[in-house]
Symmetry: D2
Subunit: 287 residues, 4 copies
């Protein structure tokens, strides 16, 4: 039975680890908060006292952490994964971080970057979409693990490529939320029935996942996360840096990054990213 060390048992990592247990893996988890560890134990996993403890006997280590510095500390740090895992252990990093950090890790260990899309709901259902960068044989080795937590698992290129595709994902998601927000405020200002409009828009070329899953809550001005503005702001920072580095011009990407930054600057970093609609309301004098 494959032994998995799992670091980071938060909103996303917790249900992912539980799904690995369900799929028959021997999972030992670690998190700074012991409450999260206890929850994994209830779900049938084991708890560890430290990163070292979690990875020492593992065949595969999965990490699911908030940002690049967290991954650098946990993976490359003094008491980190590389310091304590057996030689040849496969590292699967599901965090959304800077591509260059993923490449740096891959240069020092057997590793794939495997960021996910689909949110808390996708993590619980095991229906995440997972974009994987790394060597073909490492992808092959990682696949059975990833298929236990996601329904779409695709190898998109060399180390870092998973992060690059995730960056594109975050660009499209932020932009689509903003387009839907602009449309909904536009329709309300013209006294159109937004419920009927969402239905008919979904049926044509304008159809998208944001209309399907988030537009109704946006119309109700419900912005409980879900995915937080401050995390999406961080991700759009990665998009912009990567675009600048590669000489790619992003006319809409640059604008939506400013809008997300404004939400955060106005103290809404803890709201769901659907709160981009709040900003269209504000700019249009409709608050």
């Amino acid at each position: 039975m494959t032994k998995i060390g799992f670091i980071g048992l938060g909103i996303m990592g917790g249900p992912m680890a539980a799904n690995l247990v369900k799929a028959g893996f021997d999972v030992t988890g670690y998190n700074r908060s012991s409450v999260k560890i206890a929850r994994l134990v209830e779900a049938g996993g084991r708890g560890a006292d430290s990163v070292a403890d979690a990875v020492r006997d593992a065949d595969v280590v999965v990490t699911m952490l908030p940002d690049s510095p967290d991954v650098e500390a946990v993976v490359l740090g003094e008491d980190g994964v590389l310091a304590h895992a057996k030689p040849g252990t496969l590292l699967i990093d599901c965090s959304t971080i800077r591509p260059d950090v993923s490449r740096q890790i891959a240069s020092r260990a057997r590793a794939v970057d495997a960021p996910v899309s689909g949110g808390e709901q996708g993590a619980i259902e095991g229906s995440l979409s997972i974009m994987v960068g790394g060597a073909a044989e490492d992808f092959a080795a990682a696949r059975p693990v990833l298929e236990a937590v996601g329904s779409t698992v695709v190898h998109v290129g060399a180390a870092g490529a998973g992060q690059t595709v995730k960056a594109a994902n975050q660009l499209i998601v932020a932009g689509t939320i903003e387009l839907v927000a602009e449309s909904l405020v536009f329709l309300e200002a013209h006294d159109v029935d937004t419920g009927a409009a969402i239905e008919v828009l979904s049926g044509g070329l304008a159809g998208n996942r944001i209309l399907d899953r988030k537009a109704a809550a946006m119309v109700r001005r419900e912005f409980t996360p879900g995915f937080r503005v401050e995390l999406h702001h961080k991700d759009l920072g990665i998009v912009q840096a990567a675009a600048r580095e590669a000489g790619v011009v992003l006319p809409l990407g640059a604008v939506v990054a400013q809008l997300m930054a404004s939400l955060k600057a106005q103290g809404h970093g803890g709201l769901d990213h659907g709160a981009l609609l709040k900003l269209v309301d504000q700019l249009s004098g409709r608050e």
Copy 2:
């Protein structure tokens, strides 16, 4: 058997009229080009020599024309629909035009505005998404006709509301094409496999109809229309005028309208709107 007069047998109107024939309606069609009329006759309809001839005995008149001035001329003009149709004839205008023109027509006749989304393929398949503005009883009367050409037929509000929703549709479609274009160029610049990326992006929160239907052709730089840049440019003009009038601010909408205008100004008005990717290529020095 309901008698339908159908004006405008082009790329969209031609297959729509044919689908009405298939559904058992008695359709008499008129178009300035007689070739288009001949095609309807082949499909089992009748041909007319003039607008007057097409609408004289009709219970329902359907119009499918390029722009506001065309509809004003054909419907309100001296030898137009209102001058020759029987009192009480129901007018269904499927053109995408300015909402105020739709409201003006509705103030002078029994009429609904019923613009469609779904493109030539949707017109042929009878799977269009149709957004209808007008009185409830007129929508009820129009419904059986519209259900013969579309699979999603929704009443969204009073006269003009169909056009307002269509405007929102065109805003989302243009914006989504641009977001996909920016993402594809971004991915290519980072040497990522775009085919794999499109697959995995489609599976998550970034999923949309443009990724499903147009992204592959965009990657191949194939821009045969489909829906032409110059028509989408016209539609974004309607969006902007309606937003300005209602005091709604569209940060992404304003930018994508400039990009579409640039394509047209550069002589690409006849290409498919997926050509927004050409502009990202150009701006990023990748042509």
Copy 3:
């Protein structure tokens, strides 16, 4: 002595008419509000009871009105300037309006379009910058009148060209105010002494009239007009329509037009256009 009929004695027109009196012209003024007429009489001019009365004996008619429909009504209307002025009277329209309206007037009368820049202060001081469109001989005839109210009087092209240059002027002014606003908020957020910064910025390549005349009031958040947001919003509408018509893409112009529209939508149409800084404060969470 040249007889001048002057229509529109508001914030700008009032002091301009008074300057014409000072320069020795025989000025008969009309305004809907009789208080404004009384002020001209105090300054040594004559009052009229109607447009007809003001223009009947005039050699030159000057109009200074808020918007295109006002000019159309006053000049082309039933009881307007053209109906009552002597044949050959020279019409000098100083209003900021759509270029096509200026061209229409020039096609029906001997007329130049002569919009001004410099604000209330420039009107009082007679130091306006005036951009004149029309035939060379009409410009020559208008020049002595215009030099009594402005210090820079330039013939920029055929009928309508004055309006086109004024549109460009309004684009640069709005954009520069916004650039200064972004810079000031940026400097405050970094705890820089803005007074010292304004001084040093003015001395280099960044130097401009907005830094010289408006930045200090903007830092104090004083937005008493001056030139009102709602008028600048109207003017940016003219800019955008003219750009669209000519196929010119305005990346900054489109964005600043949205920002001005937002100020108006938020109920700040009556503030000075320097209030663009309010919006940067708002977007940056610094209100």
Copy 4:
């Protein structure tokens, strides 16, 4: 006589060092290219073989280098300024770099950051505008040196503040060039005489240094630097990073940064920044 060590004798640094010689300072200069050193010797200065040699006996060290990494290497590096200058030597860094690098240097040495505006012409004429960050007593000590190369020398705040004001300067300059570019293309598209328009625009509220110094060359499509696109692109990167860090939203700043990035991506990094007009031409189909 104050002894000055001067590192960086390029387009800007060369004439600045020569002006210091003229003002009576004892200047020893170093540059990687010995041709530049020879030119300083001709102007009456001394040449050095290394950074160490240039700064060993200096009372004041002036640095004028292209980018943050250059300053870090030359000032903080193993064989750099701090390693070889006497204790208490005043460091005046005139380079345009990241504010945090200036603060880091000020934490390790007696230093002011003193970036300049005014271009090659201002450097030759000694008419630069200089924005100085640092302690009051260090500014007082630097002032006589800076007044030999600039005509506006202002203390704007603590260490790093000079760079922050320079960032704002670069934002306004880039934005103003773009506004002038959009206006000129707009005027040409409407067949207006741009020479006359520049004159009249300069006289009103739209007046700015770009209209005065660069617009005529832009109309002639002459883009010989001057100040290169690739340097301005670097500076706008500093602006954006500093704005993001401080939570300041820059709607125009973000757009003009994309446009400058596009010029560089299209291979125009070596042109003068006035080449933003090329991009407006391109987007408007007027090349």
